[in-house]
């Protein structure tokens, strides 16, 4: 494994850990951004350039920002008075650890059955475009509708109810 993989992995995991462990919510959001970036690098490592840049553009540029906005809107930038972890956090941690154990065990068990690594296949945007429009046109349209609905829905849900809605 190359050094790029280790750095990216480290970045991702560190960012993820930070985002769930930090006390300040804004710090969590920013650490999340770091995790997304690390992930983008991992995608690039996997020869999925489009997915990597889409990750950056959507997640870092939109989702993370959104989260920050939400935090600010609910005035969560202050340090909370009481603890940030729930009273029964060991249970949650144990369950997460159990999941990891299971997945890890499955992966290592099947390591010998995996196919040999092949050289990367070149992917062009042209190919992706064509695939989207020809092969995966239906999901494309559905996602388009979904995004529209989500947009409108989010606006409606978060709207102030004071009679000024039109």
């Amino acid at each position: 494994m190359s050094i790029a993989f280790y750095v990216s992995a480290l970045l991702t995991l560190a960012g993820a850990l930070a985002s769930v462990l930090l006390k300040n919510k804004v710090h969590c959001a920013l650490a999340l951004t770091v995790a997304f970036t690390g992930l983008a690098f991992l995608f690039l490592n996997l020869n999925a350039q489009f997915a990597g840049f889409a990750e950056i553009m959507v997640y870092v540029g939109a989702v993370a920002i959104l989260i920050v906005f939400a935090i600010l809107l609910i005035k969560g930038s202050e340090t909370p008075l009481h603890g940030v972890f729930s009273r029964s956090w060991p249970i949650g941690a144990a369950i997460a650890a159990g999941i990891f154990a299971l997945l890890g065990w499955a992966v290592i068990e099947s390591a010998s059955h995996l196919p040999k690594p092949t050289p990367a296949h070149a992917v062009t945007v042209d190919q992706i475009g064509r695939a989207l429009v020809y092969r995966y046109v239906l999901p494309l349209e559905v996602v388009a509708i979904l995004l529209t609905v989500a947009l409108i829905g989010a606006v409606i849900v978060a709207l102030h109810e004071d009679g000024r809605t039109q």
Binding site: A9, L32, A48, V58, I67, S86, I99, G104, P115, V157
Partner: protein, 103 residues
């Protein structure tokens, strides 16, 4: 240790971290952050399998990941809108107190 295995392990760890965050943190937004992390771990799995699996020329994994990103974005938007809405009504994002569904 094939590269695929390494990527898969990373994705598993990331998933576990995300789950832990969703289960442990008190704030609703932090739960959403955990969910985003879980989704991203799944994306990583998809891309990894696409790269090292059979028939990479079909672009199945890649397209799947792209759609997943799109849906995740929409879901994050709606989720955050809901959190804001709830905060306005209950003046708290402390999950333990939002138990109107208690039965």
């Amino acid at each position: 240790m094939t590269p695929l295995t390494c990527y898969l392990l990373v994705a598993a760890f990331l998933f576990a971290i995300g789950l832990a965050g969703a289960l442990i943190r008190r704030n609703a937004i932090l739960v959403l952050i955990g969910i985003e992390l879980m989704l991203n771990a799944a994306n990583l799995n998809l891309i990894a399998f696409w790269r090292y699996g059979p028939h990479p020329e079909l672009l199945t994994g890649m397209i799947f990941a792209i759609f997943s990103i799109a849906v995740a974005a929409a879901e994050a938007a709606v989720g955050l809108a809901l959190v804001i809405h709830i905060h306005r009504h209950t003046k708290t994002t402390y999950l333990d107190q939002i138990n109107r569904m208690k039965g």
